[in-house]
């Protein structure tokens, strides 16, 4: 990661406590503009709390989160979230799901159309634009949500294990797709997963978390050409290294 890249998000001394329970302690890191950052940690390490803090929807106990040098604020900054379970709105078509956020943000109609068409083409949804969520499979629904998030051109896109339960072949397909749309839209992404192989496949950089109270254990750079090959010895080496850092099972 060249140090001349512009910093988009700064997290400084983030600490979160629920009464006596210290969940996050002194987490500090930067995310570069347009970076694809993955976060992995052991099961139960508090990653949901971590993401909820980053949305600024729950208060921090200590520390700060800056976007472009200013305190992150959901009213000012555009922070998008892709949940584990598909969260498309069932009463809207695919196209209207993707338009929804843009209309709320009062983006001009012409630009809405351009962006919606662009992201639908990128994730192969163009021919399904008039479908309703109930007519689509789980993986298609997740693509609707991902298209919707990227279309919003967020300052920060948070993804919480969006491909958790899908089969490996499908996951690689969708992971390639998310990389393609990320490269095209140049979005800053924080992608959280339990799956170490997935992190190595996607990330420019991986932050490895400790057990609770959670902090950053190590930062691992992944400088492999794309599309990546999970049988490549260097890929395997990084995967094993990260596994050793968090293995509890």
């Amino acid at each position: 990661m060249a140090s001349n890249r512009k910093v988009k998000v700064t997290v400084r001394n983030l600490t979160k406590r629920f009464d006596d329970l210290l969940v996050l302690t002194n987490v500090s890191f930067d995310v570069y503009d347009g970076e694809f950052l993955c976060i992995v940690g052991p099961t139960g390490c508090g990653k949901t709390t971590f993401l909820n803090c980053l949305t600024r929807l729950i208060p921090l106990t200590e520390g700060e989160i800056l976007i472009d040098g200013e305190p992150a604020d959901p009213k000012k900054h555009n922070i998008a979230f892709v949940f584990q379970e598909p969260s498309s709105m069932p009463w809207l078509t695919v196209e209207d799901n993707i338009r929804f956020g843009l209309e709320i943000k009062k983006v001009p109609e012409k630009e809405i159309q351009e962006r919606v068409n662009q992201v639908m083409a990128l994730v192969g949804l163009t021919e399904f634009r008039r479908y309703y969520p109930r007519q689509l499979s789980a993986s298609m629904l997740q693509r609707v949500v991902i298209a919707r998030s990227f279309a919003a051109k967020p300052d920060l896109l948070l993804m919480d294990e969006p491909y958790g339960q899908l089969d490996i072949k499908l996951r690689y397909y969708l992971e390639d797709e998310v990389i393609r749309i990320w490269q095209e839209m140049k979005t800053t992404v924080i992608f959280v997963t339990h799956n170490i192989e997935e992190a190595v496949y996607l990330a420019e950089r991986i932050l490895v978390l400790t057990n609770k109270p959670t902090t950053i254990k190590e930062e691992v750079r992944v400088d492999l050409p794309r599309p990546r090959d999970f049988t490549d010895p260097e890929f395997v080496r990084i995967r094993e290294h990260v596994t050793d850092l968090i293995k509890w099972w």
């Binding site: 099961t43 499979s137 294990e161 490996i168 072949k169 049988t231 099972w249």
Partner: protein, 251 residues
């Protein structure tokens, strides 16, 4: 070894709402040897669960038949124990109550069934949790109860329908190790359904790959890598890749 379970030309067609028919299984034939760990691997919604339900006797095939020790399967029976994808524990029963439910309903002697229930609860690593209720357990622990419950009926064959599908990737690794340990200690014929290639290669004596809907048998792979298997062993990864190339992509 002799064939424990045989599927002969099993096909299944469902009527569709508003007319028409949907064929989900077409001409599935295979045999499972006694004490073999067989994995049925297929993409999402390819009819894997339907096939397992037919073997369990919970559904009838449209054509073909299933044999257990040479006898045609006509309905559910304790000789085939099932571990469900959605776990399906009785929420108002404790761990012990869940595990001994089958023998209890069959009127088995209390002392006898309790002894066996406690043995399997210990085997799946839940000693000390006998009197906990399902809502007090984590996802991995709940599925351990599901496995103990299936074993407690003394089944000849264990049918496992994507039992770890809801678990996170790390807990899943743990449960894969555990299910092999349990199987090695209490040998049974196992038919394990999954959509996860890595899990299949880790567990199986043999993998049968199913196509997308309607499911047909696409390929078969005996897995001879010695156990315990290593997920990042080059031979393991090569096997995964080979199977991945053969598998259908179901969007």
């Amino acid at each position: 070894m002799s064939a424990k379970i045989v599927c002969e030309n099993v096909s299944k067609t469902f009527p569709m709402r508003g007319g028409g028919e949907l064929q989900v299984l077409r001409n599935i034939s295979f045999a499972v040897q006694e004490n073999e760990f067989l994995v049925l691997l297929g993409p999402g919604r390819c009819g894997k669960t339907t096939l397992l339900n037919i073997i369990a006797g919970l559904e009838d095939p449209t054509e073909g038949r299933v044999l257990l020790d040479g006898q045609e399967v006509t309905g559910p029976h304790p000789d085939r124990g099932m571990v469900f994808q959605n776990i399906a524990l009785f929420p108002w029963k404790t761990v012990l109550g869940n595990v001994e439910m089958g023998p209890r309903l069959r009127g088995e002697d209390k002392e006898e069934r309790r002894k066996r229930a406690l043995y399997y609860i210990k085997l799946v690593g839940l000693e000390g949790f006998e009197n906990h209720f399902p809502h007090q357990l984590s996802g991995g622990m709940k599925q351990r109860v599901g496995i103990a419950r299936a074993y407690c009926n003394n089944p000849e064959v264990l049918l496992m329908d994507e039992p770890f599908g809801h678990l996170d990737a790390q807990t899943r690794y743990l449960m894969e190790q555990e299910v092999l340990r349990i199987w090695q200690e209490a040998r049974r014929t196992v038919i394990f359904v999954t959509n996860n290639i890595e899990e299949a290669v880790y567990l199986a004596d043999r993998i049968i790959v199913l196509s997308a809907c309607p499911a047909t048998i696409k390929a078969e792979y005996p897995i001879t890598i010695p156990r315990p298997r290593n997920y990042t062993d080059p031979v393991f990864l090569k096997m995964r890749q080979e199977i991945s190339e053969k598998m259908d992509l179901a969007l």
